[in-house]
Amino acid sequence: MNTADYAAYLLAEHGNRLYRLARSLTGDDNAANDLCQEVWCNVLASKQQSRPDDAGEFPWLCCIIKNAWVTGYRKKKARIDVAVGDGFEGSQQRTSETLPDARLEKKEQIGAMNDCVQELPMEFREVLQLRYGCDLLSYEEISDMLGIPKGTVGSRAGRGKKLVAECMERKGYA
């Protein structure tokens, strides 16, 4: 079977399953499409000797997708670092516009969220930092740690999230 036939066969056999993985991994339709395109191009360029046996077909495709994902991520990250650090006025904005990447957007969003948390009054800030910072504590654990009722933890977390949402809206993250 020539390479194109083989790729078409794999597409028919594993295409949907692979797309499902790509969609889940990227969390984004366009990124999933790009990633799948890259995988199928890799398959089309693959040598006959590299083909796995039947049971290994999907793991092999997953291996390709993982490599493409990690490599693409690193490449993109390097481009972002260069763009942000080149001293160009407004380069941060330009980076966001020219690299529409869900991961970059999320990173910016989380960065903005952290900034907003820092601006909160202490009582809200400490609860949110314990909850969503490096500890990921439950209400009960925060209650024990701060010596306040669990209901108070809940209301401070709720109110804190609300204030963060308002702050983020002001920063343009609707």
């Binding site: 194109a4 078409a8 597409l11 889940s24 499409n33 990173k107």
Partner: protein, 299 residues
């Protein structure tokens, strides 16, 4: 603002179930990105843990029957180590575990995910849809020999036909819609009374996950919460004692009235900001009331 990690359940005992739901979601990548951003902000807190180090000898159990066998601390470690979590995602998708395959959503590869040189061939062949149960049920096509393309085509057609039959014969349960108390799966009988009340409070807290930006979106959000109240009033709450059930229903009727007042205030032209602030307070008060009741049952 849509940040998934903000939906982390209040109780660490619920982390596993929540993470499992995220793992089978098509939007899981968003959570991964958030966790990566959080982890990079927490750099210096120690070396990253691998999937094997976190799961230990429970890995096979996780692949076979999900995350519920893990301790809250293990789930927390997964959340704190996004690379390990990503590895777990791959292992789940590669595994033929019936448990996971039943939970992963059905998806159809779009044409835009296929290179043009393959697209034409794909048009000629039906790409076998991935169904929640087709991995074990549908006949597998075997890899064709170079000289037997005809049998491969027949196989593909038969597999497609089988999958279509499976599609019609399997009634997939519909995913619950909405948020908070709108979701029918909120009213579960699987929790004890205090856990259940806490669960209701957590669900109500989803009000704060989305901030309405104008009168229409606030009205919609209030109406959705109001609809959730109706669901709560109608639900059986089998784990609650009569007094607790009556208390909950009566309180919910009072909250419904309050929500109706907020909607009416909006309709009568009261300022968006004022109504939003009042609605926030109402929701905060009802969450506190339910949590206090849950704590009193625990005491």
């Amino acid at each position: 603002m849509n940040i998934l990690i903000l939906d982390l359940p209040q109780s660490a005992d619920d982390y596993a179930e929540w993470l499992e739901n995220q793992l089978v979601s098509p939007d899981f990548g968003e959570l991964l990105s958030e966790l990566r951003a959080l982890a990079s902000g927490n750099a210096g807190t120690g070396p990253a843990a691998t999937l094997d180090a976190i799961l230990g000898d429970q890995k096979s159990q996780v692949l076979e029957s999900g995350l519920r066998c893990l301790t809250p601390q293990q789930v927390r470690e997964l959340l704190k180590n996004p690379d390990a979590l990503e590895d777990l995602l791959f292992e789940i998708h590669i595994s033929d575990s019936e448990y996971w395959q039943l939970q992963l959503p059905a998806m159809q590869i779009p044409e835009s995910a296929i290179p043009p040189e393959l697209r034409e061939r794909a048009d000629k062949q039906a790409v076998t849809p991935v169904l929640k149960s087709d991995v074990s049920d549908a006949p597998k096509t075997s890899r064709p020999a170079a000289t037997s393309r005809r049998s491969w085509w027949i196989g593909a057609v038969l597999a497609t036909a089988a999958v279509v039959l499976v599609m019609f014969s399997l009634r997939q349960p519909e995913a619950p819609n909405g948020w908070g108390w709108q979701r029918s799966d909120v009213f579960t009988a699987q929790l004890t009374a205090p856990e259940y009340l806490q669960h209701l409070a957590d669900s109500a807290n989803q009000w704060f996950n989305k901030t309405p930006t104008d009168r229409d979106s606030l009205r919609t959000r209030l109406a959705e919460f109001r609809e959730g109240c109706d669901q709560l009033i109608e639900a059986p709450h089998p784990q609650l004692a009569d007094t607790d059930r009556k208390w909950l229903v009566e309180r919910c009727r009072a909250w419904s009235t309050k929500l109706d007042e907020h909607i009416a205030a909006l309709d009568q032209g009261e300022s968006f900001e004022d109504v939003q602030r009042d609605a926030d307070e109402t929701v905060m008060r009802l969450i506190n009331a339910i949590e206090e009741r849950a704590e009193s049952l625990n005491a």
